[in-house]
C-alpha cells in the first residue's frame, strides 16, 4: 500500500490520471497491523506516560471486556487502545480526573462487593459490576456515577478501536482513496434502500 505522502505525490504528478489502488486493504488490515505491531514490539514495550501500573493493568483488562477478539478481528488491546488512551490523557490533562476517577470508582465497587479490586476479581464478578453500569436506560439510580463514567469509557474505547487499522478494516470502510470517476454508491446499496 502506498503511504499517504506517496499517494499525494503520485496524485499531484498524475493530476487527474488515476492509476492508484482503490480498495485493497479492508480484509488484510488486521494481519498487516499485527505483523507490524509484533515487529515494533508494541504492547510489551509501551511505558504508560499517565496511567499508574495498576490503572494500566485495569484498563488493559477492561477494554477487552468492551471490545473482545472475535472471528472477524482482534481485541481492543490488539488494536493498542490502552496505548491510545494513555497518549490522549497525556495530551489532554483536562480528561484525566473523570477518566481515572472512574477507574477508582470501579475498584471501590468491586472491593465493596467482593473484597477484591477489578483486576483481581473473577470473570463472573467483573461481569456482575459491568452489567450494573453498562445499560443506562435500566441501570439503578445508585449506579449513576459508574454509568456516566462507563458511557464515556466505552465511547473512548470505541474511538481507539475503530480508528485503528484493525478497527477500520473490521468495519469494512473502503473510502479515503482517490476515485477517478464518481458514479454514486453501488447498485446494491441503492437497491437495498429501494431508492
Amino acid at each position: 500500500m502506498l503511504s499517504r505522502r506517496e499517494m499525494v505525490a503520485a496524485m499531484a504528478a498524475a493530476a487527474g490520471a488515476f492509476a492508484l489502488p482503490t480498495q485493497a486493504r479492508a480484509a488484510e488490515a488486521s494481519r498487516d497491523v499485527t505483523a507490524a505491531r509484533m515487529a515494533r514490539g508494541v504492547g510489551a514495550a509501551y511505558e504508560p506516560k499517565v496511567y499508574t501500573k495498576h490503572e494500566w493493568e485495569t484498563v488493559r483488562v477492561l477494554v477487552d471486556y468492551i471490545i473482545p477478539k472475535d472471528d472477524r478481528s482482534g481485541s481492543a488491546t490488539d488494536a493498542a487502545v490502552p496505548e491510545f488512551m494513555d497518549t490522549m490523557l497525556h495530551l489532554e490533562p483536562g480528561m484525566r480526573v473523570a477518566h481515572r476517577g472512574g477507574i477508582a470508582w470501579l475498584d471501590h465497587e468491586c472491593l465493596r462487593r467482593f473484597s477484591k479490586d477489578f483486576v483481581s476479581a473473577s470473570d463472573a464478578e467483573r461481569k456482575l459490576v459491568l452489567d450494573d453500569i453498562a445499560f443506562p436506560r435500566t441501570a439503578k439510580p445508585e449506579f449513576s456515577h459508574g454509568v456516566a463514567w462507563f458511557n464515556s469509557f466505552r465511547d473512548f474505547t470505541a474511538t481507539g478501536f475503530f480508528t485503528s487499522e484493525i478497527g477500520v478494516g473490521d468495519l469494512g470502510y473502503v473510502g479515503n482513496t482517490p476515485v477517478a470517476d464518481w458514479t454514486g454508491c453501488t447498485p446494491e446499496a441503492y437497491r437495498r434502500l429501494g431508492v
Partner: protein
C-alpha cells in the same frame, strides 16, 4: 517604541486574505496594481500542508481537536473560537461565538464550499416585507460578477429555474449517495424542494486545476486544489503576476490618515518581532472579516475621524447578523447493516433543500435552506459516541462489537441555515477597557435573537422531525421548547457574520456606497462580509467573492481614470 517606516508605497494594501481579500488581490494585480496583502496568521499552501488521505491511526489524536484546530487536527483552518492573546468580550446578557482564521486564506481553507448566489428578492427584502433594508444594488447588477466567479473558481450544481435561487455556470453535479436518495424520497413526499448541491468543488478540470478525486475531505485542504480556497485559487495565481507581495503574521491595528483626510496606509504589529510597522499605500482595502474590519475602522481614530475612519454615520459595528441554525438527527433502521461501499463522494452533501415556502403563508418573514448529513464516513475521534442511545441501550462484549458494525452509517441529520434580520440589539463595538496582547482594543459583542428567528427555527425543527419520521427514524431528542429558543444555535456559531460595515444609498445610514467605498474616505474600501445589507437563506461566500470582484474592478477603473 520606534516606528520603522518602510519606503515602498504600494498602489493597494489589502488587509486579510480570505475570500474577499484573495479576490481583491487577484483582480487588482491582474489590472496592473502593485499590491501588498497583509495576513494576521501564517502561510499555508494546500499542495504542501494538507493532510488529505491521512488515516486516523497515523496520528496520536486520531483526528481529534487541538487547541489551534478545534474542528480536528486535520481540519485546514488554524484559529478557532478562542485565540490565545486575542480575546473578545460579550456585553452582559449576550452570548456570541466568533471563529477567526489565522492563516493565509482564512476560513476559506475549511469552509463547506456551499456556494449559493443570493437571489433577486434577497437584495430587495424591505420592499417585500417591510423589514430591514434594501441593498443599493440589484441582482441584475451583481449577476455578471457571479457569472465570472462561477467560471474562474468553478462550481457544480444544476440549473433548476428557481426564481430566487438563480441558475449559474455549473459543472455536472455528482450522483447522490444512497442515503441522500432516501432523504430526497422523503422530501418529495412532503413537497420540500430537494436538488443537487451547489459546491465550489471541481467535477471537471478548470483553469489547470484537476477534477475532484472524491475522497470527501475538502475541509483538510485539497492537495490537488480541486476545490476553492483563497490561497490556491486566487492568491498564488495573483503572485505569478509579480505584482503581489504577501506579508504574514501582520496584525493590523488601524488605517492611517494623511493631512488630506485620505487613507495613506495601515499600521500593523509584526507578530514575530512584536514591532509596530507602517505601510504606505494609495488605496486601502479592508477584507479582514466583517467584525475584524469593523474593529480596525473603529480603532482608526484621528482628528478627521473621531468616531473611527469611515464612521461619521455611526453605523460601523451595527447591523451585525449571523445565519440562524438548528440540527436534528435520527437513527434510520433501514440503514442498518448497509452493504459496504465507498460513499465518500465530495466533501459535502450532494443534495440540499433551498427555501421552498412562501413566507406570506407563515408566521415568520424569512426562509432557510437545509443541509443534510449521514453516510459510511471514515471513522475518526468520537466515532459513534453515545452508542448507548441506539436500541440495545449500551452493553459490552461481542454483542456491543456487533452493534457498532450494525449501526455505523445508520444516522441521518438535518441542519437548517436561515436568514436573520438585522436588529438594534445585535452589534459589535470597541470594549472600553480590554486590549489584546498587541495592545489593540478588542471587540465587545451584544446579541439578541427576535421572534422572527425563533419562529423560523421552530419551523426547521418541525420540518426535520417530519422528514425523519417519513424515513422511519427514531429521534431521541425532543422538540425544544420556546423557552430554549427552539434549539437555535448561539449567535456567531454558524460563522456567517455579516453587515457591520453596510453599504447603502444614504451616507447617514450606511458606511459604504454602492461600490463599497467609504462615504467619508474615497480611497478606503471594504471587501468582506461587512458591506452586506442583509443575510439571505444562503451562505455568503459566493456573494463576498462577487462583491469583492465588483469592488476591485471599480478600484481599477478609478485608478485608470486617475481618481485614486
Amino acid at each position: 517604541m520606534p516606528i520603522f517606516k518602510r519606503r515602498d508605497v504600494y498602489d493597494v494594501v489589502i488587509v486579510g486574505s480570505g475570500a474577499g481579500g484573495g479576490m481583491a488581490a487577484h483582480e487588482l494585480t491582474k489590472a496592473g496594481a502593485r499590491v501588498l496583502l497583509l495576513e494576521a496568521g501564517g502561510m499555508w499552501d494546500n499542495s504542501k500542508d494538507s493532510s488529505m488521505l491521512a488515516w486516523p491511526w497515523e496520528t496520536d489524536r486520531r483526528g481529534g481537536s487541538t487547541p489551534e484546530r478545534p474542528f480536528g487536527e486535520h481540519d485546514a483552518c488554524i484559529g478557532g473560537w478562542n485565540i490565545p492573546g486575542e480575546p473578545f468580550t460579550t456585553a452582559p446578557g449576550s452570548r456570541f461565538s466568533w471563529w477567526r482564521g489565522r492563516m493565509l486564506g482564512g476560513r476559506t481553507n475549511h469552509w463547506g464550499r456551499i456556494s449559493l448566489r443570493f437571489g433577486p428578492d434577497d437584495f430587495q427584502r424591505k420592499s417585500i416585507d417591510g423589514l430591514g433594508d434594501n441593498w443599493p444594488i440589484t441582482y441584475d447588477e451583481i449577476k455578471p460578477y457571479y457569472d465570472e466567479v462561477d467560471k474562474l473558481v468553478g462550481i457544480f450544481g444544476s440549473n433548476e429555474g428557481l426564481r430566487n435561487h438563480p441558475d449559474g455556470h455549473f459543472l455536472p453535479a455528482p450522483a447522490p449517495r444512497c442515503w441522500e436518495r432516501l432523504v430526497k424520497k422523503a422530501a418529495d413526499r412532503h413537497a420540500v424542494t430537494c436538488i443537487p448541491s451547489r459546491l465550489s468543488i471541481l467535477t471537471r478540470p478548470v483553469n489547470g486545476r484537476p477534477a475532484c478525486h472524491y475522497c470527501g475531505q475538502c475541509n483538510r485542504g485539497c492537495a490537488t486544489n480541486s476545490n476553492f480556497s483563497s490561497p490556491n485559487v486566487l492568491i498564488y495565481p495573483a503572485q505569478q503576476t509579480g505584482r503581489l507581495t504577501i506579508r504574514t503574521d501582520a496584525m493590523v491595528r488601524e488605517v492611517s490618515v494623511g493631512k488630506n483626510g485620505l487613507a495613506d496606509g495601515v499600521l500593523y504589529i509584526d507578530k514575530i518581532t512584536g514591532q509596530e510597522e507602517r505601510v504606505d499605500a494609495r488605496v486601502v482595502v479592508l477584507a479582514a472579516s466583517a467584525c475584524e474590519s469593523a474593529r480596525i475602522m473603529l480603532n482608526s481614530k484621528s482628528s478627521a475621524f473621531p468616531q473611527g475612519i469611515g464612521n461619521s454615520s455611526g453605523v460601523v459595528g451595527k447591523y451585525l447578523t449571523d445565519t440562524t441554525g438548528t440540527d436534528v438527527g435520527g437513527f434510520i433502521p433501514a440503514l442498518m447493516d448497509q452493504p459496504r461501499h465507498n460513499c465518500d463522494g465530495v466533501g459535502g452533501a450532494h443534495l440540499y433543500m433551498p427555501w421552498w415556502v412562501d413566507n406570506k403563508k407563515l408566521d415568520f418573514p424569512r426562509g432557510y435552506h437545509i443541509e443534510i448529513w449521514g453516510g459510511l464516513g471514515m471513522p475518526g475521534y468520537g466515532f459513534m459516541g453515545g452508542i448507548h442511545n441506539y436500541p440495545p441501550g449500551g452493553g459490552y462484549g461481542a454483542s456491543l462489537k456487533n452493534d457498532y458494525r450494525k449501526y455505523w452509517g445508520a444516522t441521518i441529520g438535518f441542519s437548517g441555515r436561515g436568514e436573520m434580520i438585522p436588529n438594534a440589539d445585535s452589534y459589535c463595538e470597541i470594549d472600553p477597557r480590554m486590549v489584546d496582547q498587541w495592545g489593540i482594543p478588542v471587540l465587545r459583542f451584544s446579541w439578541k435573537w427576535s421572534d422572527h428567528e425563533h419562529l423560523q427555527v421552530k419551523h426547521m425543527q418541525e420540518t426535520f422531525r417530519t422528514l425523519l419520521a417519513e424515513m422511519g427514524a427514531e429521534v431521541r431528542s425532543t422538540m425544544p421548547t420556546r423557552e430554549s429558543g427552539y434549539g437555535i444555535a448561539t449567535g456567531g456559531s454558524i460563522i456567517h457574520e455579516l453587515g457591520t460595515v453596510r453599504m447603502g444609498n444614504d451616507p447617514k445610514t450606511s458606511a459604504l456606497d454602492s461600490n463599497c467605498t467609504a462615504w467619508d474616505c474615497k480611497n478606503l474600501f471594504v471587501a468582506d462580509g461587512g458591506p452586506f445589507v442583509s443575510q439571505a437563506d444562503k451562505n455568503p461566500t459566493w456573494t463576498i467573492l462577487a462583491l469583492s470582484m465588483r469592488t476591485s474592478r471599480h478600484i481599477a477603473a478609478q485608478r485608470k481614470a486617475g481618481k485614486l
